[in-house]
């Protein structure tokens, strides 16, 4: 058929022909479809209903399977829907439910057609209309058709009635006023003898309760649901009822007492795994205070865990990890299964097991478990490897490294993770690297050591996932260069040729860090030569910051002059090289030579690190390495390279003279160079600290400042700030901004100061190490609004007020067992102490001495099994002891809660959070029934108004009895008491 073009024009293809044609692929699928679409467009316009319907059917098929747009044919859909022939009508309805949406304008035209079909005597026509409504109903349709659907809710035909019940969900969502009219009839359907109808009604309530932000509204129906829970034999319905109870139970503690037995009964009796799992889930999420129920659930979880079906095993682990948040003993009891599951072939199971293992981590075993897992990650496939790394990072980083005691260990672990060939967690490691640097003073030497090891390895530069880590390493080693054993080596690492593999922004960090290292070396050298006295440095830094500023003002112009001179020089010198690759390569070569030379010399110079020669070599190295960058297209890189080169140019000549002179012959006043270096050094040695999330809120708004509500014009203002500062001239000293930024730029932010750019650089620099970031984007891009990095209170925090923090960390340590680490846990600088801190997980692990856990982990994962039996038996012994402890705790709670509640029903243990919830509920209780009464009253009003439904209402009113009674009694349902 596809061969003949005459046939094509004469005879319409059926859907089958179309499908066959596409499958034959004589002219290629897309070509064929284009041709078919041409036909369809022609055919769909005919007056012949058969041709039109077939064309629409083909179009619907192409839309559904091949993603062809059919919104243009909406009107034809309406035409076909209104056909009197059932087959056509069906095609039309399928097309409508597939393509109509809120934006379809012709949807207004179908109201009458739907009404006609909803009232049809043919149940299948009614079914079509209901099905279509369940997917496409708009607010208008829902409003206009509510009466018809209301009628259908009590249809005598099950086929229609169940669909009418189900469609109510969409109607309620789109037109909430329909609740007033049809809620009662929906409730009646809960009691219908036909399981189909009941199932549909329970399903609707399940959806409503889970979508509603306030499921309390459904509490009055609890007796109905309870009856279904007890009497019903249908698993589908039971599952849905359990889902509803899962929503209601947290709201009404007395409900739990009633349903816990039937739920356990189902759990025990049922042969259906789906129902059993739903019972387990209900218990582990909402009935964790009922010891017997939890025990039964754990028993059943155990059954799932040892099942061969990976689905059951997965769900068992999932239930266990839900339970693990409340009770740890079931997890410890099943430790063997959990740990074995880490090496399961199934990714879901592995992941769930990993979560469980990480849930067991505590201060005492974190090092061991992490080491085992990191080693295991090396052997895992990339995806799971990163899951492992990610969960270690998030567990250890949680709540300001709460469970990390030995930061030297943790920092080296971070280094080890970075070297994992599959590691893709660069961002997380980067942020923790910088964060630890800022927060944990004592970890800095180790941090610098680890950073150095990472920087120095040329192989790592080739892995793009590690670039962020390298950026953090570069920043750390620049910022804390004073802890470096060999700054020259660091400099070589920062300037090595392979850094060309890095993206420009990270290269910029490298160069800036090299700058810091350079300044440090020069300064150290001058101190060593006694040109600068360390004491005077301190005076300048702390005592008289204003003097520093004064000097700066003078220097700025000088530097600018120098810089512009340098610019010209470099432009002439280097641009040709950039264009000529071979020349650049030779530059690289020479750089490498120097590197080698430097390496040998620096090793030999261990004793007296800073010599005349080494400083000269250093300067040469920097010049050689950065020279090519001054002509690069990357503004960030160019900018920083120019900064460094300008700086060198400025000090070079005088420095040469200086270096030749004898020791101690200089006074600070005579030469500019020592002063400049000192200034730079001071600027860089100013400590950066973390910024509180709420820092900006604490800044008082100055009087008379008009703040606009709408910040849309901020975009325009930011536009030029956001642009890379390519056009502005380069000053050699971004660090001045850093020093003065807090006091100066915050007040005169809008003045076009020459060093605005340096604040910008600083901002950009920070952005890469974004940590101390305020959440809002706006704030972080507007550099002038940047909160001061060193707020006075923070500074005092760091320098003087560490005592408070000491106290805090001591407190958190005191509650736990003394760790066997020789070193005390270093201070971790925290801000926002009051802001919600996640519940510490270590509380759960309290005294659980699960060192055997890590042993078991190692046995299973790393294969050095000595005697797995003993390692598996141990935990169960321990956890049973643990269980006893739990029981004790529970009974303690029970007696307390008895006093609290006053009423004679001893509810089993309830945690403190539960109790508070309960108390708050007590207040709500009085409110919620009233709300319900209002609803009921409305309904009654409606009844009186809606005259044509009047009679039916009356007969039904008797049936409405129970819910009405319930809603009027102030305390919810009678069975609860």
């Amino acid at each position: 058929m596809s061969a003949s073009s005459i046939m094509e024009s004469l005879f319409q293809r059926s859907l089958d022909d179309l499908i066959k044609g596409i499958r034959l692929q004589l002219i290629g699928e897309s070509k064929f479809i284009t041709k078919a679409m041409e036909e369809i467009r022609r055919e769909i316009k005919t007056t012949d209903s058969q041709t039109k319907a077939v064309a629409l059917e083909k179009l619907t098929y192409l839309n559904s399977i091949h993603g062809i747009d059919m919104s243009w044919a909406a009107f034809h859909v309406v035409e076909v829907m209104s056909s009197s022939r059932f087959a056509h009508k069906k095609i039309g309805y399928l097309a409508a439910s597939q393509s109509f949406n809120e934006g379809t304008d012709v949807i207004l035209l179908i109201t009458n057609q739907l009404r006609k079909d909803l009232t049809s005597t043919n149940e299948f026509e009614v079914g079509l209309a209901l099905e279509c409504l369940s997917v496409i109903a708009t607010t208008d349709l829902a409003r206009d058709l509510t009466p018809e659907i209301f009628t259908l809710l009590s249809s005598s035909k099950t086929f229609v009635r169940k669909k009418a019940v189900a469609v109510i969900l969409r109607i309620f969502v789109k037109y909430p006023d329909a609740v007033k009219v049809s809620f009662k009839r929906l409730v009646e359907n809960l009691e219908n003898s036909d399981p189909h109808v009941m199932s549909a009604a329970v399903g609707v309530f399940c959806e409503l309760a889970s979508k509603d932000p306030d499921p309390r509204l459904y509490l009055p129906l609890a007796p109905e649901f309870y009856r279904i829970l007890v009497d019903c034999k249908n698993n589908w319905i039971l599952i849905k009822v359990l889902k509803i109870f899962a929503k209601l139970l947290p709201l009404e503690p007395r409900l739990a007492k009633r349903v816990v037995d039937p739920i356990c009964e189902h759990m025990r009796r049922t042969g259906a795994k789906s129902l059993m799992f739903e019972c387990i889930r209900t218990v582990v999420t909402t009935l964790t205070d009922y010891e017997s129920a939890v025990k039964l659930a754990v028993e059943k979880i155990r059954e799932l865990l040892v099942d061969d079906d990976p689905n059951l095993k997965y769900l068992g682990l999932q239930a266990l990890s839900i339970l693990g948040a409340k009770h740890l003993w079931p997890v410890l009891e099943n430790k063997d299964v959990v740990i074995n599951s880490l090496s399961d072939a199934d990714p879901n199971i592995k992941l769930e097991a990993l979560h469980l293992v990480m849930g067991m981590v505590s201060e005492t075993n974190v090092a061991e478990i992490s080491r085992v897992l990191v080693n295991y990650a090396l052997k895992s496939e990339p995806q799971f490897c990163n899951e492992i790394l990610g969960s270690i990072l998030s567990t250890c980083g949680r709540n300001f490294y709460e469970i990390v005691v030995d930061f030297d260990w943790y920092v080296s672990l971070l280094g080890e993770m970075s070297r994992n060939p599959h590691c893709q967690k660069g961002e997380e490691i980067e942020s923790q690297f910088v964060d630890i640097g800022l927060r944990v003073k004592d970890a800095r030497p180790e941090l610098v050591r680890v950073a150095r090891d990472l920087l120095i390895d040329p192989a790592l530069l080739g892995n793009p996932f590690l670039h962020r880590i390298l950026a953090a390493s570069a920043w750390v080693s620049g910022e804390y260069v004073e802890f470096s054993k060999n700054p020259f080596e660091l400099m070589e690492a920062l300037l090595q040729p392979r850094t060309s593999l890095l993206p420009p922004l990270i290269r910029a960090v490298y160069i800036h860090s090299a700058f810091k290292v350079l300044v440090f070396c020069l300064h150290s050298y001058l101190v060593q030569r006694e040109v600068i006295h360390p004491s005077s440095v301190d005076d300048l830094a702390t005592g008289m910051p204003d003097l520093g500023f004064g000097i700066k003002c003078v220097e700025v112009s000088d530097i600018a002059k120098c810089q512009s001179a340098a610019d010209c020089g470099h432009d002439d010198e280097f641009n040709p090289r950039v264009s000529d690759i071979s020349v650049e390569d030779s530059t690289m070569e020479t750089t490498r030579d120097i590197t080698v030379h430097e390496a040998s010399s620096s090793v030999s110079l261990q004793k007296e690190p800073f010599t005349h020669e080494s400083i000269l070599n250093l300067l040469n190295l920097v010049k050689m390495a950065l020279g090519p960058h001054s002509g690069t297209d990357e503004v960030e890189v160019q900018d920083r390279a120019q900064n460094v080169l300008g700086f060198i140019k400025m000090i070079e000549q005088e420095l040469h003279g200086l270096l030749g002179e004898e020791k101690g012959n200089f006074e600070i006043g005579e030469h500019k160079v020592p002063k400049i270096i000192e200034l730079m050094y001071n600027a860089f040695s100013k400590e950066l600290g973390p910024v509180s999330v709420s820092a900006q809120e604490r800044v008082p708004i100055p009087d008379g400042l008009m703040l606009k509500e709408d910040l849309s014009d901020l975009d325009n203002m930011c536009a030029d700030v956001l642009k890379p500062p390519s056009s502005s001239f380069t000053t050699g000293n971004p660090q001045f901004g850093e020093r003065e930024g807090d006091s100066f730029f915050n007040l005169h932010g809008k003045e076009p100061e020459p060093s605005t750019e340096s604040t910008l650089l600083l901002a950009q620099h920070r952005k890469q190490h974004g940590l101390y970031y305020l959440p809002s984007d706006k704030n972080e891009t507007v550099s002038n609004d940047y909160p001061p990095a060193n707020e006075p209170p923070l500074l005092s925090n760091l320098v003087d007020g560490t005592q408070d923090l000491m106290k805090l960390t001591e407190q958190s340590l005191a509650s736990k067992k003394k760790s066997n680490h020789a070193k005390p846990r270093p201070v971790v600088v925290k801000l926002d102490e009051g802001d919600e801190l996640p519940v510490s997980a270590t509380k759960l692990t309290k005294e659980s001495k699960d060192d055997s856990l890590s042993g078991a982990l190692r046995d299973i994962l790393l294969g050095d099994k000595v005697n797995p039996m003993s390692s598996q038996r141990q935990p169960s012994d321990k956890s049973s002891g643990k269980r006893e402890k739990e029981a004790l705790v529970d009974s303690g709670y029970a007696s307390r809660s008895k006093q609290n509640l006053g009423d004679a029903q001893p509810s089993h243990g309830s945690s403190s959070s539960r109790r508070s919830k309960h108390r708050s509920h007590g207040k709500e209780k009085q409110r919620s029934p009233r709300r319900n009464n209002e609803g009921k009253e409305d309904t009654q009003k409606d009844k009186k108004k809606g005259s044509h439904h009047h009679r039916r209402h009356k007969t039904r009113q008797r049936a409405d009895g129970p819910p009405n009674v319930i809603s009027q009694t102030p305390v919810i349902p009678d069975f609860l008491l």
Partner: protein, 166 residues
């Protein structure tokens, strides 16, 4: 609630797609592609659940079953039970098997409209309405009969294809 039902073959060609909240056609194709991307990377004999948050938004899960050359995929949220959904796929496939007598991929390819009729009897607006395949069969048979009857009434060859089929 069930968000979507998909049937696709092991090469990723969609055979049936039903979304219970409207998705524009391009988006549908994209979703199908991403689902296939996930499915084809999974080994045999592993669990049938996949977190679908990345594809269908928060709180969504996917359950799939692999029959011969076809994947059957249901996407749903937390108000459905995972194992029940797995059972429901079974019900769906059983019903297809009864309808088409040993169903194979070609049956599904060439019975676009009937596939929808069957599915609509089981899942209605994202909610499960029928779980017994015999009941589904009964309704589907009635509907098919009705369709044929309505076509037979006016088989006067108004259209050329009417001619053809005679």
């Amino acid at each position: 609630m069930i968000r979507a039902v998909m049937v696709m073959n092991t090469q990723g060609k969609p055979r049936l797609a039903k979304f219970y909240d409207f998705q524009p056609p391009e988006k549908q194709q994209e979703l199908i592609r991403s689902v296939y991307g996930v499915l084809c990377s999974r080994a045999e004999n592993v669990s049938n659940f996949v977190q679908a948050d990345a594809i269908f938004g928060p709180d969504t899960l996917m359950v799939y079953k692999h029959y011969a050359t076809l994947y059957f995929v249901f996407v749903f949220d937390s108000s459905e039970n995972e194992l029940a959904m797995l059972d429901l796929i079974q019900v769906f496939v059983e019903t297809l098997d009864k309808c088409f007598k040993n169903v194979c991929e070609l049956d599904i390819v060439f019975n676009f409209s009937k596939m929808h009729t069957i599915l609509d009897e089981i899942i209605f607006g994202g909610q499960v309405l029928e779980t017994i395949s015999a009941e589904v069969m009964k309704a589907v048979d009635e509907i098919t009969k009705l369709e044929k009857a309505s076509n037979a009434v006016t088989l006067v060859p108004k259209s050329v294809s009417g001619w053809q089929s005679r």
